[in-house]
């Protein structure tokens, strides 16, 4: 069968997926076309929903997004900022550190 990818324990067939996608999309379209036709352009119906407030003039900036995510992971990001110093000396230092760690791992692995 064309498009059938065996993954060892399961399988994946994109062509069947695409067919299913179009059938579902058709069904959704039919259901939608039977809905209430009260849409009026130019009224409040076309405004984006922004918790009842007026949306900002020039849209929502990327800096405003995922605020809660960053607030929850504030300590992680603070730590990450500290690691990413942007100094070339540190880059080489980490490289040497990784070499030493790997050497230790290989030596211990050889003893076991």
């Amino acid at each position: 069968m064309i498009g059938l990818l065996k993954t060892g324990t399961g399988f994946w067939n994109p062509l069947v997926w695409v067919a299913a996608f179009f059938v579902t999309a058709l069904a959704v379209y039919i259901i939608r076309s039977r809905g209430v036709k009260k849409y009026r352009p130019g009224t409040g119906q076309t405004m984006p929903f922004f918790s009842g407030n007026r949306p900002p003039e020039d849209g929502i900036k990327s800096g405003n997004m995922y605020w809660g995510f960053f607030e929850a992971l504030k300590r992680y990001y603070k730590w990450m900022r500290r690691l990413h110093t942007g100094i070339v000396n540190d880059y080489v230092f980490i490289f040497v550190l990784v070499m030493v760690l790997l050497m230790a791992a290989v030596t211990l692995g050889g003893l076991l």
Binding site: T85, N89, V96
Partner: protein, 112 residues
């Protein structure tokens, strides 16, 4: 079979790496990489050396043991590469100095 040239090579490599890691001046960082490269060149040449060998030139050679010519070809290649890398890094250092008026690696503009 630890011999003096190999020890010397390891010491010089450590000196070069420590220069790259701990020096803040960009030109000194370039010097550090250059020192490491020279140490490795020394290592290759000392690998090919035979006790009491003569230079591997066919012309007028006495019938003696010759040193191995392959490592010398490798060394020449790596010297040429090192020259190109050093020239390029120094050019970048010149441009950085011209733009920011400083060669300090810690006064960085790119981070995170």
């Amino acid at each position: 079979m630890i011999s003096l040239p190999f020890l010397a090579v390891m010491v010089i490599i450590s000196i070069g790496l420590s220069a790259v890691i701990f020096r803040r001046n960009l030109v000194k960082i370039v010097m550090g990489t250059s020192i490491v490269a020279s140490a490795i060149n020394l290592f290759i040449v000392s690998l090919g050396y035979r006790e009491g060998g003569v230079a591997p030139i066919f012309t007028g050679a006495p019938t003696l043991e010759m040193v191995l010519p392959t490592p010398q070809a490798l060394t020449l290649t790596s010297i040429v590469i090192d020259l190109a890398v050093t020239a390029m890094m120094l050019s970048f250092a010149i441009i950085i100095y011209k733009h920011y008026g400083s060669l300090d690696s810690r006064k960085r503009r790119l981070r995170e």
